[in-house]
């Protein structure tokens, strides 16, 4: 059975959404615990978010063809 690409794209987006949510939530927790370290936490959050995003986009582009 052939699974349409759109299903794969949807799965990727769900996975990326869960991942981004976890990153953001943990970062919020961390900032709430240590507001002084907000800058460092934000930078790390953005880096990890970007890595995740790169993965998701890569999968989307590879899946599109």
């Amino acid at each position: 059975m052939e699974i349409p690409n759109l299903v794969g794209a949807g799965l990727i987006v769900i996975g990326a959404g869960v991942g981004l949510g976890k990153i953001g939530g943990s970062a919020m927790d961390a900032i709430a615990r240590q507001p002084e370290a907000a800058g460092k936490i934000q930078t790390a959050m953005i880096i990890i978010g970007a890595l995740l995003e790169g993965l998701a986009f890569g999968a989307l582009i590879l899946g599109k063809n």
Binding site: R33, A50, G54, L55, F57, I61
Partner: protein
């Protein structure tokens, strides 16, 4: 130093008051900027409304060869898809907008430079927007989906089963739309930053910069203090600053340029991002120290069988890092452009359901919303690219054992001060 900072603060406040008081000007400018992308969609559905005109148009296209063999009654959605994919591609001409009813294009041609048994240079006006065959020194060339193919006088382009022409492609070194934008951006950056450098030379490092330099200097310092220093390390960051600054400002400027209605999509072109990532890759590999290679080929501190397993993974990691860099930038910008254009297309798709005014209002609101997010993304992608580049370079140049007692003993005061961590 403190006085200087205070003075600067006052000055900036004064200046900002002066500039931003003109509320009306600001508002109308914003409205103009928001409305201007609509131009690129102007007239795009006129033909489907008038059946007779459409038939005329189709006939006209068929006359121009098999290139538009799919030019049946194109629905608005299909036309919008075509428009978006056309926008995302590079082009041999600069077309700002075109009138489909009269088949007029407003823009200017660019030089085509081909290497095909000798250099062939001619203007892309010869292609007549892909509708006619260009002739240069007895050779015939034709445009097919933005790419130049060699053909004969009749313009034969036999297609294979994947809808790609079987004709040969000459080596294309043309000054395309992206090349022009890249050159212009480089020139702009060069002028801005050489003036900044000149200002520094003239007044010394502690003087207050004037004019637009006041915007640029904090950005340069931001890249230095937030991106290069923490990631590469105090000892070696200076060597990589020129590259990081160039990449940061180039990507940022190109991203912002992509948000204007000029129809430029440079950082959304995979060739450009591949090139940028390749620079990072080469710089990382060539500035790497012994420890970096040791960690790749013979990981210290793990048993020998593990070392053998880890080596291929680490070698793969060498290539996946720049690969993720290039995919991220390319996909983000492409996705951004697609979303913005798709939201503008709401005007034409939802015209019947929402009435003309309603569809324009919806589209305008959504486009404004996404455009603001894209402004953030434009900065974020430049930041992330620079950040990860410096992170990769930092991994390659840092000396892990001696790093700590080195930088902490006589490093900068605000970096060694750890914030007080409350005990919970």
């Amino acid at each position: 130093m403190y006085l200087c900072a205070k003075f600067q603060d006052c000055k900036i406040k004064k200046v900002s008051k002066m500039v931003f008081n003109k509320q009306f000007l600001k508002n109308s400018l914003t409205a103009l900027i928001v409305a201007v992308p609509l131009i690129s969609f102007a007239n795009s559905t006129q033909d489907s409304v008038h059946g007779g005109e459409e038939a005329y148009h189709t006939a006209k296209l068929e006359k121009h060869g098999e290139q538009h063999e799919t030019a049946h009654e194109a629905s608005p959605a299909e036309k919008i898809n075509d428009h978006i994919s056309h926008h995302l591609q590079d082009a041999h001409e600069f077309v700002f907008f075109s009138d489909e009813a009269t088949d007029e294009h407003f823009g200017f041609p660019l030089p085509v430079i081909l290497f095909d048994n000798g250099l062939k240079v001619f203007s892309s006006a010869k292609f007549n927007h892909g509708e006619s065959i260009a002739e240069a020194d007895g050779n015939y060339y034709k445009l097919f989906h933005g790419k130049i193919y060699k053909t004969d006088a009749a313009g034969e382009l036999p297609l294979d089963e994947h809808h790609h022409p079987k004709n040969a492609m000459p080596l294309d070194f043309s000054i395309t739309k992206n090349v022009v934008s890249l050159l212009l951006t480089s020139l702009l950056i060069f002028l801005l930053f050489s003036s900044l450098a000149k200002g520094f030379k003239k007044k010394g490092p502690n003087a207050l910069p004037t004019g637009f330099n006041r915007v640029l200097e904090p950005l340069v310092i931001y890249v230095r203090d937030e991106i290069a220093r923490p990631n590469i390390g105090e000892a070696k960051y200076k060597k990589f600053m020129p590259y990081l600054l160039t990449v940061f400002f180039l990507i940022w400027t190109l991203n912002l340029l992509g948000l204007t209605p000029l129809g430029i999509n440079v950082t959304g072109n995979i060739a450009v991002t591949v090139c940028l990532a390749l620079f990072t890759f080469v710089i990382t590999q060539f500035s790497a120290n012994k420890e970096y290679w040791g960690h790749i080929f013979w990981m210290p501190g793990v048993p020998v069988p593990m070392k053998i397993v880890l080596a291929p993974i680490e070698i793969l990691g060498m290539f996946t890092k720049p690969f993720s860099l290039l995919i991220r930038l390319f996909a983000n910008i492409t996705a951004g452009h697609t979303v913005v254009m798709g939201l503008i297309a709401i005007i034409f798709v939802a015209k019947e359901q929402l009435t003309v005014g309603g569809s324009i209002g919806t589209s305008l609101l959504l486009t404004l919303f996404i455009s603001v997010i894209e402004l953030l993304v434009a900065f974020l992608q430049a930041f992330i690219f620079t950040m990860l580049s410096s992170l990769f370079i930092g991994m390659a140049v840092q000396e892990h054992e001696h790093h700590h007692d080195h930088s902490h003993s006589h490093g900068h005061d605000h970096h060694t001060e750890d914030p007080e961590i409350p005990v919970i």
